[in-house]
């Protein structure tokens, strides 16, 4: 049964649906977005997105509604904003998203948009906090997109081609992860036709019906869309999780290969890379083990979006480290009844605050893989003897400039390197610190 949700918000950093919906459209480079709501809500969504999408400030508009607009309607402000878009852009698609208060007053946003006679398709959605969190917004936007711009029914299947669903660059390190997934699939002999909401233009998305298989990456974002495209277009899908670690990547590719035969037999290059990397990582690890012993922690806490947190936790246990007692805290509400996970405790960040507090308070000597939020909770308690690695937003205390992913083969090396370095730091008494 679902729990009551009256927990201290300190443990919950999920954004509202306004950001999630905007993230899907932000991931379509030729899309323009309009938030029909107050600047405050808009700025928070913008700030969240522009960390990844540097052009967001230019193609994300706001109607700047105020208390008067709630009484008299937003028509004038929306018309004005649509005119501004018309003079500056000719997008392939546009999202108009209502904040919660604006959604409640019942403006006919669709009618106002129709009257404006724009030359591009526009999708109108109520996506404020009443609609839920990031995931709800992203999913609603994705479904609305395909309802407005449906794929053509008669599809000619291109052998060895796939689409990636449920990806977003608005997750921490999301852009690098998407690149690695594409690289991995290309190396394995597949052609990636589209990643809706994660870099594909409208034209690319229109061609995705030719794929043999849809691959769901982040289940909480892409699961429903995959089901929809299966029902409407007959595109089969799998949700093999996220390929963290070398074994995880191999298993991920294997599950795809069971459904789709690669176009080319270019698997040799992939196998060579995999085997070279495995040898290299093993050699480096053994060398370090001679001096520092194997990576082990008394406690481990992993916090992030559902698929990333559970995927990383699994790879940690199976490949990367001795985690000790493992706790996984997921950001969004857990799907009721679906609690299956690895050997560890799965907590709901929105409802299990007391247990999260307790786990954090005894994390000394342990490992935290989460966001700046969990790290700050430790700092405020003066608990600094903890190895720490960012895996999710918000991140306020690390620069992310390079192109190192967390997923795939390259990701396995990146994460293992970071784990070793954090572990060596911890052995020398250098955990997280406020000084």
């Amino acid at each position: 049964m679902c729990k009551d949700r009256w927990e201290d918000v300190n443990y919950r950093v999920d954004t509202c649906a306004l950001t999630g919906a905007a993230a899907f459209f932000a991931g379509i480079p030729d899309a323009v977005l309009v938030a029909n709501g107050p600047l405050w809500c808009y700025f928070y969504a913008l700030r969240h997105l522009e960390k990844t999408f540097s052009d967001m400030g230019r193609r994300y508009y706001c109607t700047q509604t105020d208390g008067q607009a709630v009484i008299h309607g937003t028509e004038g402000l929306l018309r004005e904003t649509l005119e501004a878009v018309r003079t500056q852009y000719s997008p392939a698609v546009m999202l108009v998203e209502n904040s919660c208060a604006i959604g409640l007053i019942g403006d006919d946003t669709g009618g106002i948009v129709r009257e404006a006679q724009l030359s591009w398709p526009t999708i109108c959605l109520d996506t404020g906090g009443l609609a839920g969190g990031f995931g709800e917004g992203y999913r609603a936007a994705a479904k609305a997109y395909f309802a407005r711009l449906p794929l053509t029914k008669s599809r000619v299947v291109e052998p060895g081609s796939v689409n990636l669903l449920g990806c977003t660059a608005a997750y921490f390190n999301g852009r690098n992860d998407i690149q690695e997934l594409k690289r991995l699939l290309t190396l394995a002999g597949y052609r990636v036709l589209a990643c809706p909401g994660a870099g594909s233009r409208v034209e690319d998305i229109a061609g995705m019906a030719a794929a043999e298989l849809n691959i769901v990456v982040h289940r909480e974002l892409g699961g429903e869309l995959a089901e929809l495209l299966w029902n409407q277009q007959g595109i089969p899908y799998i949700a093999p999780g996220i390929p963290y670690g070398l074994d995880g990547s191999q298993a991920w590719l294997e599950s795809i290969r069971e459904r789709v035969i690669p176009r080319e037999s270019s698997g040799n290059q992939l196998n060579r890379e995999l085997s070279d990397l495995r040898c290299h990582l093993q050699a480096v690890s053994l060398e370090l083990q001679l001096l520092w012993g194997e990576i082990h922690f008394s406690q481990t806490l992993v916090a992030g979006p559902f698929s990333a947190a559970t995927g990383i936790a699994r790879a940690l246990q199976e490949e990367w480290a001795d985690t000790g007692a493992l706790t996984v805290v997921v950001r969004e509400s857990l799907p009721c009844g679906d609690m299956s996970i690895l050997t560890g405790d799965l907590l709901d960040g929105s409802a299990d605050g007391a247990i999260v507090t307790e786990r954090l308070s005894r994390l000394g000597g342990g490992l935290l893989m989460g966001s700046s939020n969990e790290k700050m909770l430790l700092l405020r308690r003066g608990i600094t003897e903890v190895a720490y690695r960012h895996i999710s937003l918000p991140v306020h205390d690390e620069a992310l400039i390079g192109d190192g992913p967390f997923v795939g083969l390259r990701g396995a090396a990146v994460v293992q390197e970071q784990l070793w370095n954090r572990y060596i730091d911890l052995c020398q008494g250098r955990g997280i610190s406020s000084k």
Partner: protein, 428 residues
Amino acid sequence: MALSKRAVKITKKSCSCTMPGIWKAVAHNPGALVIFHSPWGCGHVTREMDLGGQYRALSRRYFVSGGYTAPLIISGLKEEHSIFGGEDLLRRCIDASVERHHPAYILIAASCVSGVIGDDTMAVAREAEKKWGIPVMASACGGFLDGDYYTGFYEAGRLLAERFLSKQTTDPDRVTLLGDQGGPSAPDALEIKELLRDLGLKSFSHFPSYSSVEEMEIIPSSAFSLAVGGADHSAVWLRKMGTDLQKRWEVPFFDGGFPVGLAGTTQWLQKLGAFAGREEASQKTADRLNIRLLTALADFAAAVKGMQTLLCIGRSRDFFNPEWVIELFSLTGAPLAGIVLLESLTEEQRGVMERELALQTTTPVFYEAEAEGVLTEADLVLTTHELQDTVPRQLFLPLLTPVGISGTLTLAEKMVRMARRKGGMVYV
């Protein structure tokens, strides 16, 4: 044309909400608990804001671990409540919060959603107070509908003052500080406390923030109150708070503005000296500051010699008074080549700023649309908005006006550092 890296937004309306102001007012008051009668997302926004402030403190080396953080509970309004109302949800939320956290008092912030639905949060608060026997207060604001961050901050202060302050015997040296400005360990607070100490005054509290119920009770023993700092926009609300204390609790409010820049701080000290009957000490402090600043700036003009420097303003006068920036140039004799008013200002805001600049300086003023030439030729730009890369060296001016002369010193130091570089952006 100068284009912003982060596109310049014309901010026609206030860009904040009352709820985070209410939260921030009591976020570190021992025993407080805050409930947002709102959807979940509003909690995230506030949490992000608070988290950013904590990392800012960490980055500027004034982070203090420990201390109390008030639980922030979200009632969790959903679509169904827009039909059936959310009062019952709020009742259950209060009950669960009291049972779980045992707060000394609760402050309820209503959201725009509860405002539109028409939930009577005050009635629910009264019921809960009777039921649980602790103060349960509800604000009269509904999210962004009834004001902004500072409205909420004031509203929380008003509710706390009404509830917790009590008549006391006056301590002639005690001064209650009003407002937050980064908290008790932030540079602005330390600067103002030092100024007060020089006048033989003891600063007390950061009302309504960082105060226990016991500390709030004795606020009326203060000789007077004054605002810590901020922009003109926030000053309105802090002044209202001070005036309330004066009317209701007979704590005089020092309405002398904020000490900003050398002239501003000197003027402020003179007014404060006269107000508190400490003229001699205030004059000595002003003289000391004058010497300290001019000594520190002795080499400034030489260090930025030959630099074509511009000031670009895209914030409205309510949020940005350029006086302390312009003062740096007049104090040191360094040339300010021009002032550019960015397109983020509405026509009205631009007019207000132009009139203000006419009072402060004879430096030529340009509109952004016609300023391409001067911007292209500029070596160094002091700006309220990030500009296109064609402007090689940029110093981003702080959103919160710095208190005292510290802002001037930091700006001068960073300008000198920037003058040595080939380009880039530096945040002051």
